[in-house]
């Protein structure tokens, strides 16, 4: 097996340019096929009955009336699925437990949140399916519920899982609780560190759950045949992982399920998890017809994963000279109805921008009566960074040091020991901070009621299992098959560009395509900003394997030894030493003769890609506050980020701009609102307020390129870092405008007005 190629400085012809995306024309003409656009003859429509209660024991489910309705072809409930023991698997940045996955897919003993599935119906039309849902009789014993994370941790809180004893506590607690897990990371001696501090700041922060808000609701189509084979089309970030989960939940062999990923209408971590897919397969099996299931927007909000809301306590100590001596944080995250929040990555990210000798971070994973959380772009990191970067800002201010300078004095660099394990490799945090400080935005004048804030973010980025197959077509063009989903950031374009660069051909000669689960080996979910990093690695390895074969064929055609042939600018050429001269052969020449020289030419890669390069971002934002209404306007925004190498700079900018705007929504207006009964009050885009175009300015971007030594083109991955800093950057800007530190998100107008009132009354 070839080792993974490392970074090499070289002259580039394709990488770094801005060709049009291969999926572009289909997307601007309406041809692109998303989850809901796939249909099969004879298909039924599946709909899900969902809990109207936040917490209740299911006494009985009677589907007989629904089953008798003409047009209803199949109904499934908990009785149609095997119970699962505890068994853990990786899914994106978060870990899943199949005991919980099967219960989240279909409630068993209890319903645990408003929207929890109880039954699914397949009927000849959507209206019949909806009518059938109304005929299903469910008897509930309604139980007290708990929504808030701190409330859920109290000893007398309503308990979601009677057998849940906190993991990570020694000895095991005597009583079950909603605290599913406690984790702790330690470095140095924090007590000693705080004793050396000349200034200590302690603050507590709260954030609300926010939804990924992809515009395409989850949609899938399943067809189960009489010989036990299932085909599934779905909008997913990881078709191989969906296949594995469906196989497990339905007790099928993996080879009997083929998953074809459709074009994906946004995911951001929210399409890492199966919801309707196993139900559609089960309904298809029962009805002997294809079954299509498309969620409504209301279902998306009520039953698919938002990210956690969190409570974060931060304590930071520093010397007058501006050196941080110790830091602690306690993060308590809502996991939703089942354990598995993003508290672990959040804990690991909390201080990992700084070289701090003494750190302790404690994380709590807490079950509450809300939908099970899912990953959302750098899962958990924005929540942790909101807290830590707010305290960093306050510390800099109290020490009288410029906030970027303060960060520079404590910045992590190559060799910094993290508190969660490894030492950091070659990173570009310092370069990112320096670029932000030098940016004209940072020194531009501000008007009245305006403020400027800065914050930074760190994300690990990951690699994992990745495959690619590259086939040289008979005319010398290239069919590139990839197994890692292009979640629309443009990784198909980036892959084609890297392959074109390797082969020395124009990028439009490479046609990238995402293969189904039977066309390639296993690929991990597109998560952790791994698409262009890991996918690129696989494509480069596959291209280099193909080049070896091309050289060998050329050597045969020209009757020279292999060493006499080099690959240059899309041609097999004589080696530089000039020992053996021959007329160069183009890729097309060799391809045309492939049949006579040994058969078709291809390259493959089957890797578990290692060596992801962490990414850092530094954001500058200007806000204006309306002192009479508490309304915050974003006036100017600049995102600076080390991406390693921008393969396609326009798509990197797009990642930064999109991530920033999601962060702006999180900071200002987005939140899940529950009523007193634990029912979601705003399950729609009218009252779940994602930013609209008129809320925003242009989002300036500045790309820093400190190559990742572990990638042939230096790629780090860039999609997640940009959502991390906006929450704190905006809160810091509001503080700068008003002199008031806000510790609770969203920074909605009522909260801002209240804060101003309290400050005027002489409060903190």
């Amino acid at each position: 097996m070839s080792t993974q190629p490392r970074y090499q400085e070289r002259e580039l012809k394709v990488v770094g340019t801005r060709p049009l995306r291969p999926d572009g024309v289909d997307k601007v003409t309406g041809r692109a096929r998303y989850g809901a656009d796939i249909s099969l003859p004879g298909q039924l429509i599946g709909k899900v009955l969902r809990s109207p209660h936040a917490h209740a024991r299911i006494k009985s489910i009677d589907t007989s009336l629904a089953a008798a309705l003409p047009g209803v072809k199949a109904i499934v409930t908990r009785d149609d699925f095997a119970d699962m023991p505890e068994e853990y698997a990786a899914a994106g940045e978060l870990t899943i437990n199949f005991r919980d996955v099967t219960r989240n897919m279909m409630a068993r003993e209890k319903v645990l949140y408003d929207g929890h599935p109880l039954a699914a119906v397949a009927a000849t039309s959507e209206s019949i399916a909806r009518e059938a849902l109304k005929l299903i009789r469910v008897e509930y014993e309604i139980l007290p519920h708990v929504i808030d994370v701190i409330a859920a941790m109290q000893p007398d809180a309503p308990l979601l899982h009677e057998e849940q004893y906190t993991v990570g506590v020694n000895p095991r607690p005597a009583r079950p609780s909603n605290l599913a897990k406690r984790l702790e990371f330690k470095l140095g001696d924090v007590e000693a560190g705080f004793s050396r501090a000349e200034l200590i700041i302690e603050r507590e922060f709260n954030t609300k759950p926010v939804h990924q808000g992809y515009i395409e609701p989850q949609a899938c189509l399943a067809s189960y045949t009489e010989d036990g084979q299932a085909e599934l089309w779905t909008s997913t970030q990881g078709h191989f992982v969906f296949r594995a989960q469906c196989a497990k939940l339905l007790q099928m062999e993996i080879s009997k399920i083929r998953v074809t990923p459709t074009e994906i209408g946004g995911g951001f971590g929210g399409k890492n998890n199966i919801y309707n897919e196993p139900l559609a397969i089960a309904l298809s099996k029962k009805s002997h017809r294809p079954v299509k299931m498309v969620m409504t927007r209301e279902e998306v909000f009520r039953a698919t994963g938002p990210t956690s809301g969190g409570n974060v306590k931060v304590k930071l100590g520093a010397t007058r000279a501006g050196r941080i001596t110790a830091a602690t944080a306690e993060l308590s995250f809502q996991a939703g109805a089942f354990p598995g929040s993003s508290v672990a990555p959040a804990s690991m990210c909390a201080f990992t921008r700084y070289d701090i000798p003494n750190v302790r971070v404690v994380g709590h994973d807490v079950t509450v009566n809300r939908p099970k959380v899912a990953a959302y772009r750098a899962p958990g990191a924005p929540i942790a960074a909101f807290a830590v970067e707010s305290v960093i800002d306050e510390m800099a201010k109290k020490l009288g040091i410029d906030p970027i300078e303060f960060r520079l004095r404590n910045a992590a660099k190559e060799g910094t020991q993290t508190y969660y394990g490894p030492k950091l490799g070659a990173i570009g945090y310092i370069q990112t901070l320096e670029a932000a400080r030098a940016h004209p935005h940072y020194s531009a004048p501000l008007g009245p009621d305006q403020g400027r804030g800065v914050a930074t973010g760190f994300w690990f980025n990951i690699g994992n299992e990745t495959t690619a197959a590259l086939n040289i077509n008979e005319d010398g063009t290239v069919a590139l098959m990839m197994g890692t989903i292009d979640v629309a950031g443009g990784s198909r374009a980036a892959m084609a560009m890297m392959v074109a660069e390797e082969l020395g051909i124009p990028v439009d000669r490479v046609r990238p395509h995402i293969g189904d689960t039977s066309s390639l080996g296993f690929n991990f979910i597109t998560a952790g900003s791994r698409g262009t990093f890991a996918g690129g690695m696989a494509c480069v390895v596959a291209a280099r394997e193909a080049i070896e074969k091309l050289r060998s064929r050329a050597a045969g055609i020209r009757d020279v030894p292999l060493e006499a042939v080099v690959w240059k600018d899309g041609h097999a050429c004589p080696a530089e030493d000039g020992a053996r001269q021959f007329a160069p052969l183009s890729l097309a020449d060799i391809a045309r003769l492939a049949g006579k020289t040994g058969g078709p030419i291809s390259g493959h890669a089957e890797l578990n890609v290692q060596g992801a390069g962490p990414g850092f971002g530094a954001h500058i934002v200007d806000v204006e506050v309306d002192r009479q209404t508490g309304s915050i306007k974003i006036l100017r925004y600049t995102a600076v980020q080390d991406v390693g190498r921008a393969i396609h700079p326009a798509y990197v900018e797009g990642q930064l701009q999109g991530g920033v705007v999601q962060g702006i929504g999180w900071a200002l207006n987005e939140e899940y609102v529950y009523d007193a009964d634990g029912i979601l009050a705003n399950p729609g885009f009218l009252d779940y307020r994602v930013p609209v175009a008129s809320d925003l300015p242009f989002i300036d971007t500045f790309i820093v390129e400190v190559p990742n030594p572990n990638h042939p083109y230096g790629v780090r991955g860039c999609g997640e870092v940009p959502i991390i800093a906006p929450l704190a950057a905006i809160a810091n800007a509001v503080e700068n405008a008003l002199g008031i530190r806000f510790c609770d998100l969203p920074l909605s107008p009522p909260k801002v007005l209240q804060g101003m009132d309290e400050a005027a009354a002489g409060g903190d």
Binding site: I128, R130, S631, N669, D687, S694, D695, S748, P750, L753
Partner: protein, 290 residues
């Protein structure tokens, strides 16, 4: 499964007959931008939809000596594009522009905004401030009522079974008059008003306010006319003291609730601000017409 009929009568008489015949289970379909959402959510299950958009009387804008007659089913986009009307009633257009997106305004109607009876309807406060009258036809013939009397509470209106609001009648304006509507929303567009305030006034030659009407939205179970707030303006030039009195009167008249879109406390806090800012715009518009 419930059957639903769709009818598109060409005359008001036919529409009234259809609605009357169905008892209370029929709904009028004008723009449909609220109705279709309610139907899809299963909140209502009408047996009959009577589409009134094919009836000329309800889809035309007529200006005559008495003022404007706005067909109740004129789309909001048509209304915003009527330049003469927009010059005459800029505050009403302020409200209309706030209703939904351009897409929604391409369908939604002022009659629908009124009869749907949302306390937060953006079109209604300015209509009330304008002293608009709703023209109604029904089984018992035609009648006219002030728009303030149409909504009776959230989602409830005073129309009898079979009645249709056919038009909104706006009076002629005196010289030096101006109106304005402002609302507060967390986002710049696409939101439901947390608070809305409309001010309609006329100045004398010296710039003193001679007539005024102030109406508030989203601070009670229906849009409110607040004569005390108007009184704060009348006889003044709209100076700071008058505006402060106006804000106080607006707050005093408000009876808001806590809901997902805003708290009672916050609404009380900003209703005065919105009324004051709306008054400033209305004053400015009136002065420009001097």
């Amino acid at each position: 499964m419930s059957e639903m009929r769709y009818e598109a009568p060409k005359t008001l008489a036919a529409a009234v007959a259809l609605l009357s015949g169905a008892g209370g289970s029929a709904r009028i379909l004008a723009g449909g931008t609220d109705l279709l959402i309610q139907m899809r959510a299963g909140r209502i299950e009408p047996t009959l939809l009577v589409d009134i958009k094919g009836i000329a009387e309800v889809t035309s804008i007529v200006a005559d000596g008495d003022g404007y007659r706005l067909g109740a089913a004129v789309t909001l986009m048509q209304l915003t594009e009527h330049e003469a009307f927009a010059r005459e009633w800029p505050g009403l257009i302020d409200g209309v522009k706030f209703i939904g997106s351009i897409q929604v305004k391409g369908r939604a109607t002022l009659g629908g905004n009124l009869c749907n009876a949302s306390p937060a309807a953006d079109g209604v406060p300015a209509l009330i401030a304008a002293d608009a009258v709703a023209s109604i036809i029904g089984p018992a013939g035609r009648r006219q009522v002030p728009v303030a009397e149409i909504a009776t509470g959230p989602g409830r209106n005073s129309l009898a079974i079979g009645e249709i609001v056919t038009a909104l009648l706006l009076p002629r304006r005196p010289a030096r008059s101006g109106d304005a509507y402002l609302r507060f929303t967390p986002r710049t567009e696409m939101d439901i008003a947390v608070v809305g305030a409309a001010v309609n006034l006329a100045l004398d030659e010296q710039g003193f306010c001679r007539q005024a009407r102030v109406a508030l939205g989203a601070v009670a179970s229906r849009a409110l006319l607040v004569p005390e707030a108007a009184a704060a303006l009348i006889g003044t030039r709209g100076d700071a003291a008058a505006l402060a009195h106006l804000a106080d009167a607006a707050r005093a008249a408000s009876r808001p609730i806590d809901d997902k879109r805003g708290t009672r406390q916050f609404r009380l806090r900003i209703v005065g601000v919105m009324a004051q800012r709306a008054a400033e715009i209305a004053l400015d518009r009136a002065r420009r017409k001097a």
